[in-house]
Subunit: 168 residues, 2 copies
DNA sequence: AGAAACCAGTTGCAATATGAGATTGGCGGT
DNA sequence: ACCGCCAATCTCATATTGCAACTGGTTTCT
């Protein structure tokens, strides 16, 4: 596509050209923190109700920009599996910072911000471990063993808040 | 404006609703790292050539979202001065991370990425000092004294690269 | 004083992107 | 054979973006 179609060679500008829109980081968030790997999961299980055409377009664009890869599911001929690339996995610290910033300055809801809080409290060490787990799940790189995975801690924290809110 | 017009209460989503577009962070980058404070400076001195109506719209939106304030310049009746709020100053670590990510994964140019590199090398300590300097310049909060300001280090690094590229 | 340049935007209009909903065509399970 | 699932695509209405020209006022120059 874009032969020299860049607005400038500034790293912030180029980054925005890749994920500076309303949906790309939402999709990556769902893949990274929500464990979604397929079109249908991303379409129906996100809070923000993305339209199917937008989702299809963004997945294409993220692949073209090297943040995602797509593979056929060997067990289901028409199922596709999306995987993060190393570049996308390295967005984890940015996600953590953005989540922390949003939690501090915007009217977030408790259930949807608990993961951001756990990640903020865990700090860079937790982000690094989480990135290892993502590399294992998406790139097949074995991760160092640990008793409680970050993914599990985030899930448990979320469940606990949802249960507490439901109990009232 | 938008009463409950949010797509969800997720901190990442709400953050994207504030600055998840192609221009908002570019404008903030120019204010934070380029020292621009006025409409005309932002309009004409940016690499990416923003259109005046888009600039006007984004400045309005950033003010509505609490990232900028606007004041009349006492010495010039029709000059306005834009200032960062504390919320915007706290985007510095995100800017630093996004710059570092872009530098690693995208085809940046050397002159426009030197500042990102200096900021990456300087680490969180340098970001913190820079945030103090921004608080002094935009909020009137006196910053701890230091022999070389971060702003000056970034400027000098940029000038050096530009000079070397021009000579070489 | 009069002309020229500067300032912060606004306006009109074409091109582009977004969004909701229906539809497509291949696949799997029963 | 039928029904539901899957990854998209199509259609059409609305919203956003981008360019260029323009506004109404203010300072600066001569």
């Amino acid at each position: 596509m874009d032969l020299a179609a860049h607005r400038s060679g500034c790293p912030i500008n180029l980054s925005l050209e890749v994920f500076g829109d309303r949906w790309s980081l939402i999709i990556l968030r769902d893949i990274i923190f929500g464990g979604r790997r397929r079109f249908r999961e991303l379409l129906t299980q996100s809070e923000e109700r993305i339209a199917s055409n937008i989702l299809a377009d963004r997945l294409k664009r993220l692949m073209a920009n090297g943040l995602l890869t797509r593979a056929d599911d060997p067990s289901h001929k028409q199922k596709a599996i999306y995987s993060l690339t190393e570049a996308a996995i390295q967005l984890v610290p940015i996600m953590a910072h953005v989540g922390a910033w949003g939690r501090r300055w915007l009217p977030v809801t408790e259930d949807l911000s608990i993961r951001a809080q756990l990640l903020e409290d865990g700090g860079p060490a937790m982000w690094t471990q989480f990135m290892h787990e993502l590399r294992e799940a998406h790139l097949g790189v074995p991760a160092p063993k640990s008793d409680a995975t970050v993914a599990e801690q985030l899930r448990a924290g979320y469940e606990a808040v949802v249960a507490r809110l439901a109990a009232g």
